[in-house]
């Protein structure tokens, strides 16, 4: 396995790790988005989706731990790279004028940290029910005494609070920024380059990031603006 260590320790190896874990996390983002968008299909769709996920039991935990590890590696490698990069220029320029550096690239560490904080906040909000605890544990009557977790109401009630929606939207902007750079970079890092597709690759980051942003932002926005309402009110 020594070649694996050698690869990871090299500057390029670390980049492959960043790209691979980033890609996996991006995959999660897509799956999560598709699940969440079911809110537009009404309470039943989203609640049964949540129920199905929960019924996975140990598999869910495997997925959770997997995600945790992937995110952990992504973050740890990023920190390692950031530190090495800082050390590579011990004396700063008195004056710096950049020609090409884009805001999304410059703020990768910052946007990454904000996303991390947001993920914890998001988990505290909807998974652990620490934030807005009053509507975190609503149950939906299914008749026959059976109930299931009323995810739909939790989300809608949550996003009806303006500062909750606003904080989600801010975090999503940063997520989009992070993806802008990340997606295009994956191609460069794996050496997927061809002059014929260079332009498409360059546009892929911003385009996909925008789609992800619109998809996710549509949920708090719709709740906040009252386009998606509680079941009782329908």
């Amino acid at each position: 396995m020594s070649w694996v260590c050698r690869l990871y320790r090299s500057s390029l190896g670390a980049k492959y790790v960043m790209a691979t874990t980033g890609l996996l996390l991006f995959g999660f983002l897509i799956a999560h988005l598709l699940g969440n968008l079911q809110i537009f299909a009404g309470p039943d769709a989203v609640n049964s989706y949540a129920e199905k996920l929960r019924s996975l039991g140990p598999l869910l935990w495997v997925a959770r731990i997997g995600l945790l590890v992937i995110a952990g590696v992504h973050i740890a490698t990023a920190m390692k790279l950031a530190k090495a990069n800082q050390e590579a220029r011990p004396v700063a320029y008195a004056k710096v004028t950049h020609r090409a550096v884009k805001p999304a690239t410059k703020t990768m560490v910052l946007s990454g940290l904000v996303i991390l904080a947001y993920v914890i906040y998001h988990l505290a909000h909807f998974t652990w029910g620490v934030i807005q605890a009053d509507h975190a544990h609503l149950e939906e009557e299914l008749g026959g005494g059976a109930t299931r977790h009323d995810v739909y109401s939790m989300i809608v009630l949550g996003f009806q609070t303006w500062w909750v929606s606003a904080s989600y939207l801010v975090a999503l902007v940063l997520l989009a920024l992070h993806l802008c750079h990340g997606i295009t970079s994956v191609f460069q890092t794996f050496g997927l380059h061809h002059s014929k597709y260079a332009c498409a690759i360059k546009m892929a980051g911003p385009a996909i990031a925008t789609l992800i942003f619109l998809g996710y932002a549509s949920i708090p926005a719709a709740c906040w603006l009252g386009l998606v309402k509680l079941a009782e009110a329908q």
């Binding site: 390029l12 990069n85 011990p90 320029y93 950049h98 690239t105």
Partner: protein, 284 residues
């Protein structure tokens, strides 16, 4: 300057059109220059206000004139590197107003002229800044790390004599052109100086790209990528974050696709190349 207009209309500049002053006028600039006694000194920015120059001077000639004035006053001149002064040797290495080689795209600082600046402009002049390029004095840095990277693998292992006829292996023109695009690197180090991470990926990528596009270089393609990257890492350069600032300042405008090619070769080498004991640095 002879106070004589060249006698033709002002040529307009096709490249980023600096609106230059008419060439008969003298101009003044306020310089802030990094002075550092030797490698162990901390160094500091020193102001040289009101330096008179002509718009027709090259940037380095402006410094030559300043150095003459300093010496006439009994002071030590500012040390800076230059040699060919026609943009190909790669020796000159000044960061001007925060951009390596200064404000003109695709131009080394030796070919930058004062007409690219305004009368009265504040100009900051600093050395390349990177841990791998330690400052030796004032604006002079040690770029030996680049030579060591090339010595690790930036070559084709052929010895003199016994080579097949030049036309024995046809090389498609498109491939030869791509090789030449990358081979035009002058090894100045502006890519490192400009990169927010002080990474040397454009330099290493240029050599890997140059040789991977030629059949003669393909035999060692994987070994080369590994050896050069390993040496690059050991020299203390930073990592590539795909800022692409290197491409923007490269005086030879080498594209970042060479970095993609390096990434691809290093990945494939790491995953597929069998490592042998006698594999250490050096030749083949």
């Amino acid at each position: 300057m002879s106070g004589h207009d060249h006698g033709h209309g002002h040529g307009h500049a096709p490249n980023p059109a600096p609106s230059h002053a008419p060439s008969h006028a003298m101009m003044r600039v306020n310089l802030h220059i990094w002075r550092q006694k030797d490698a162990h000194d901390d160094g500091r920015m020193v102001a040289y206000p009101n330096v008179e120059c002509s718009p027709d001077m090259s940037f380095l000639e402006m410094l030559d004139v300043l150095n003459e004035r300093l010496q006439e006053k009994g002071e030590e001149p500012i040390a800076f590197d230059s040699d060919c002064r026609e943009g190909v040797c790669g020796m000159c290495s000044l960061t001007v107003n925060g951009t390596p080689h200064g404000p003109r795209k695709g131009t080394t600082v030796c070919q930058l002229h004062m007409r690219s600046f305004r009368d009265g402009e504040e100009i900051f002049i600093e050395p390349w800044r990177a841990k791998a390029f330690p400052v030796q004095k004032d604006l002079v840095v040690d770029r030996g790390a680049f030579d060591r990277i090339i010595a690790a693998g930036g070559f084709v292992s052929v010895r003199t004599g016994g080579c097949p006829d030049g036309n024995a292996i046809p090389v498609p023109k498109e491939e030869a052109d791509q090789a030449m695009d990358a081979a035009s690197c002058i090894g100045c180090g502006a890519c490192v100086a400009a990169c927010p991470n002080a990474a040397a990926m454009l330099f290493v990528g240029a050599k890997v790209s140059h040789l991977r596009h030629l059949p003669q270089g393909q035999a060692e393609q994987k070994r080369r990528a590994q050896a050069m990257v390993d040496t690059m890492d050991a020299e203390g350069f930073g990592n590539c974050s795909n800022y692409f600032e290197c491409e923007a300042v490269c005086p030879k405008e080498i594209p970042v696709k060479v970095i993609a090619e390096l990434n691809r070769d290093y990945l494939s080498a790491s995953l597929t190349r069998e490592e042998r004991k006698a594999d250490g640095g050096g030749g083949g």
